[in-house]
Point group: C2
Chain length 312, copies 2
């Protein structure tokens, strides 16, 4: 079994690659839920959905979020009647949020609703929220604390980030199947996808017990850098690092994981950083443009993990 920790778009790409180069039912993708929010009365889980749609082959290939073959009548009408339209919800996407919300209000857990939706959409890997308890990422900016989606979507990551907080994390319980997988002697590797460390991976690590389980994990933990040559492939990773007083580099991301990181896959462009990284580094093409790129990077990660396992 392989456990992959993922945020949205970048993580979903590698998760898709993994699901295509290994038996998909042996892949467990654990998603960040710090981005989740309630909007228009609907419970929305952006990272879970991006991973689910990507693994189901339903993702919009152009923007990386939402669904392909989407229609926008809901949003058009919402604009007509003066509703909030800054968070774009396609008609097909809304159906998923309505059904999820209905099931959650009915008392089902987020993990059971996710499993249900994944089964219906034909997703072969297991997809789990990091926790069934709500954790909400907040961003302190010069304009004060902002809810994550306010910062991320409404304000397009423009405010300067000063601090991050994961509300609810301290009292949240990690999803039991996630912790069980980390302690499973059959676990082959934990893959930290090339997601933003601050807003995608660290909310997962903030759930009590997760970091400890990664440190104690018998399988190698291997991350893929979300930074290539000082820039993020997508999203505000590099911008946030600079604002938080860090050098936006692959090595600085690795430092965030130093207590449990065994292997690190960085781009050829960052070869010069190898010496400063306290983990077994593998050089690869980490930019995933095509499906073949996703599969190739996934193979590289699994091969690197196999090497690390043999060393133990």
């Amino acid at each position: 079994m392989i456990v992959a920790l993922s945020g949205g778009v970048g993580g979903a790409k590698l998760a898709l690659g993994l699901s295509r180069v290994m038996p998909p039912e042996q892949l467990l993708v654990v998603c960040n839920t710090g981005d989740d929010f309630e909007h228009l009365g609907l419970c929305i889980s952006p990272d879970l959905d991006t991973v689910m749609y990507t693994l189901a082959g339903l993702a919009n290939p152009e923007v990386g979020w939402g669904r392909r073959d989407e229609t926008w009548s809901f949003m058009e009408t919402l604009a007509e009647i003066g509703g909030e339209t800054w968070f774009r919800l396609g008609d097909r996407d809304v159906a998923v949020h309505v059904e999820r919300t209905r099931r959650l209000r009915d008392g089902q857990s987020l993990s059971s609703v996710t499993a249900y939706l994944c089964a219906k959409l034909g997703v072969a890997p297991r997809v789990l929220p990091m926790s069934d308890d709500p954790v909400r990422t907040r961003v302190r900016t010069d304009a004060g604390w902002l809810d994550f989606q306010d910062y991320f979507v409404r304000l397009r990551c423009e405010p300067v980030t000063r601090e991050l907080a994961f509300h609810g994390a301290e009292s949240a319980h990690p999803q039991p199947a996630f912790i069980a997988a980390l302690g499973d002697p059959g676990l082959q590797a934990v893959v930290i996808c090339p997601s933003n460390p601050f807003i995608s991976i660290e909310p997962i690590l903030a759930v009590p017990g997760v970091r400890e389980a990664l440190v104690a994990c018998s399988a190698p933990v291997i991350a893929v850098s979300p930074i290539i040559a000082g820039r993020a492939i997508k999203g505000p990773t590099a911008k946030m690092m600079t604002e938080l007083g860090m050098d936006p580099s692959a090595g600085v991301v690795a430092d965030r994981y130093s207590d449990f990181l065994d292997g690190y896959v960085i781009d050829h462009a960052d070869m010069a950083e190898v010496v400063s990284i306290d983990a077994k580094v593998t050089l690869a093409q980490t930019l995933m443009t095509t499906l073949e790129d996703r599969e190739a990077l996934a193979r590289t990660v699994l091969d690197a993990a196999a090497v690390l396992r043999r060393r133990r």
Copy 2:
């Protein structure tokens, strides 16, 4: 001012006719909310919406409910993920339900949400729910008591109706502007639209104070028969009458309103019933196929009301 009491499709047709042959801002359409229900976590008000869409020129002309230029991606996806699809919700329609639900959960009254939506959609007449308190029509059938939409949509009115009940009516308050209008000395007429008496008009009459206000009303109360030659133009009116042990006739509908009815518009086809009806009868073409039919019937109703006013 004219007050019109309306259910869904048939009532909306006459309300549209009225709005086109009189200053529309002087028309107050009071809608049945006994059909309202919560479905998929959304607050749905079918009669209010049919009236609102019809008056806004947005109604689907083919089926009489829902919106024209509608798309169905939401419903398609809901079917894919195993959601409940027996109540058809178009993508544009869903936006209205989501926004209504959000506002109601925010503490706004149904009448204020309705006024807001009508303003946004360009509806000139005032549209009011009969009450801001929930009233829920239930139907006793041979299979027991059914929620209204279960009976009406899911089971397509197939079960035999034995009894009707309007849950919550006894403790509901009529919408204050509705009662104020009935007592307004400037009121010119109350029009009871050709809606199903049992499931569209009687829920309105069941709200404490409404029937009394109609009896006490200084303006003439004039109804349009929903029955033509023993048949309902649309919906289960005639079938229900038979099942409830009544003769499905225009005259029997008038009997339901006998304590306050001053005038009654029936179809030429029902001329033979004139002698048995205890109200001033006007013969007309009551089948409204075209927009001109709606306007002509509206003029007939207003003229008949003017005659009744002169007699007082």
